[in-house]
Symmetry: C2
Subunit: 408 residues, 2 copies
């Protein structure tokens, strides 16, 4: 027993960490976030929406009005299910992709990342398996890791996931004694590949999972960002709202800074997700919810979204042109029909030496190395480029620098 | 293999839930939140701050200015560590309670509930033990349950936790083979009892835990709400910033609706908490952080806080008067020196029949039944009353109704 005069003992924090913390890894995309701020750097890394299209004066006025007229309410604690009118508005948004959904199935979350965290927390024990596209969203790997969930990748082609390959993988995993709870998928303008799941494959994928009692976690932040509004495939949720849990977000259609998203799920699941959500954040920002409800529920939202999509379409075209002009032989890339990203498969015989991101930064361009988008830490033979937040001139020059790096 | 024409199989969601979900319980306090809205009901349940003291027009104008002048920045994704100036401002707030802390130790969170979730996630494996006051904050029980952490209560008296009892409990738990990672405590104007840990006990408690390699999680939302600003005991964090992790919040000194709080921890722990936080919410609302920084960093904050504390002091006095007037013999209550709550120990020979909350609601008053504040689900022989958000007239009438219930 130490006395009062002895030096205070210092705790060894690392020895107290929970086992799951061994899976906490800094997001490579977040790391690039800092690099991208270096002078002279062109960033084709972050999947940031373009904010220039927003009517900032109008949004500022909405924020003022919300606090001035209802301050005692919006600055106070709110309901764990979300503010009154927002679930109904979310149902209208989901109807645009063919889903008939009622507000009792909508849980408002502090961004769709929080929705992903909550669904994983509700369903996944350590050692459970989630099947996901290979490659997949880096931030989802962070969530699955934090719950010690194992990710099994199924390759994507230009039409997204192959449902038969998913079926075979689930069956093989189960035959090997593994517990498969969820298929995690981004069917529209996939992050990071930019590909879109065809309608026929959607129907078959839902059937494959329903037959096997595997839930589908449909992550759909980009669904309303298709370059062709006439051809919008129905959401997986619209095909089977019992088997599919849908994650939606205001981040790409309005503002990521506010951190407001939602989960659509059967009422019994939604109710448990609310309990889990209240334990984590009590509720999302009430002011953020009100702002999303007033802005997206108002008349200026749609024209601003149209302006944004037109920008993304032009920038995507600029990127396609630049890739055709600057990529060496043996590099293949995807042709997105919406969203923010294209994906490059590099020539395995001519990979850059060393760390791909470091090499790119040396050439003055930030990007996401492909290996970061797999759970198994494989080396990068691919990379993601984002066209959403760069000017056409920067896209042309940035892609030229990528080409230079691959030639060097 | 089922064909296309057969009825779609329906998943059995409950069979897919993770083991931890068995510990997801709706917060009894959140349940009372709805009951409290019934007409004629007087709520002494929720720990809501009084919003009437805030300069709403000023805050509205701040919100407008932030979006109008810096919309493309504040509506965009932000940094996972928090916006630039907020950690420095938090250091100034913590200095008011004697802590010398630098911004590299501050992690901004989406409310201090999120901080509690993150610290538990980083440190606690299923089956680990957290020692906490008995009774303790209901929302902490929700977090600990969601990580399958076991809570061992140590009784409080009018001076808070007894450090020797904590030492004995830790030693006994370890002798029984249990893993004790954290002591969770609310030293100032404790939720739910209203008691404050004396300075001598603080010093000894820190020593007891440091000697045993047990971290202290100091949850301090009410620290600046003391009725006597001249006598503010130093924070546990100020006594040993290696052993103590501090949770702070803007909820009670500004606005709970914005969901902005912080964690102070040694840099190596803070960095891992940031990784965990980014996986859950990416970052807290940028607009909420800016609003907190501008309002609490400005000249109107302190006078409004003084007005709030004066209100709470008067309301606490009104509650003490009403308790003296209306409580039957055998009921004991605490005399808070700040914060929101008093705690009643009922006469065990004269407990109301049946569910305490239901009986109270029948008498037209909402409160938090004491049993909800223990992890072991014991019956309620105590209750929490909040005076923070009710008028003095409602406090008098609400306490009269509680007295009536206890007499009936």
């Amino acid at each position: 027993v130490s006395g009062g005069a002895s030096a205070a003992p210092r705790p060894d924090h690392a020895s107290l960490f929970a086992r799951r913390s061994g899976q906490f890894r800094p997001s490579p995309v977040r790391a690039v976030f800092e690099i991208a701020l270096q002078p002279g750097m062109i960033s084709l890394a972050g999947g940031n929406p373009d904010m220039s299209v927003l009517p900032h004066e109008l949004i500022a006025e909405l924020a003022r009005g919300i606090v001035a007229e209802r301050g005692p309410e919006v600055l106070q604690y709110g309901s764990g299910a979300g503010i009154g009118r927002l679930p109904g508005l979310v149902c209208e948004l989901m109807r645009l992709q063919g889903a008939e959904v009622t507000p009792d199935r909508i849980q408002i979350t502090a961004g769709s990342q929080a929705g992903l965290d909550l669904v994983t927390k509700l369903f996944c024990d350590p050692g459970d398996v989630v099947v996901a596209e290979g490659p997949t969203y880096v931030g989802a790997l962070g969530v699955f890791g934090s719950y010690e969930v194992e990710v099994e990748h199924v390759d994507v082609d230009d039409d997204g996931l192959d449902p038969e390959a998913v079926a075979e993988r689930i069956d093989a995993l189960r035959a090997a004694g593994r517990t498969v709870k969820l298929l995690y998928t981004i069917p529209n303008f996939h992050n990071p590949t930019g590909v879109t799941l065809t309608e026929a494959r959607r129907r078959r994928l839902v059937q494959v999972c329903a037959e096997r009692g595997v839930l589908i976690l449909e992550d759909d932040p980009y669904g309303l960002l298709g370059f062709d509004r006439e051809h919008r495939p129905p959401s997986l949720y619209s095909m089977d709202p019992d088997t599919v849990i849908h994650l939606g977000s205001f981040s790409k259609i309005f503002s990521p800074g506010l951190r407001i998203g939602w989960i659509a799920a059967v009422p019994a699941v939604r109710a448990r997700l609310q309990i889990a959500a209240e334990a984590v954040t009590i509720h999302p920002s009430v002011l953020g919810q009100e702002l999303a409800a007033q802005y997206v529920g108002g008349e200026h939202w749609r024209p601003a979204l149209d302006r944004a999509v037109a920008l993304y379409r032009s920038r995507c075209a600029a990127m396609m042109d630049a890739l055709a002009a600057h990529m060496p032989d043996g590099v293949r890339w995807t042709r997105p029909a919406g969203g923010f990203f294209t994906w490059l498969d590099l020539d395995p015989r001519a990979l850059p030496h060393g760390n791909l991101l470091r090499r790119a930064v040396e050439h003055g361009v930030a990007l996401v190395p492909g290996g970061a988008c797999y759970a198994d830490g494989r080396p990068s033979t691919s990379l993601r480029l984002a066209y959403s937040a760069a000017s056409e001139a920067d896209i042309a020059e940035g892609v030229r620098r990528v080409g230079q790096m691959l030639r060097d």
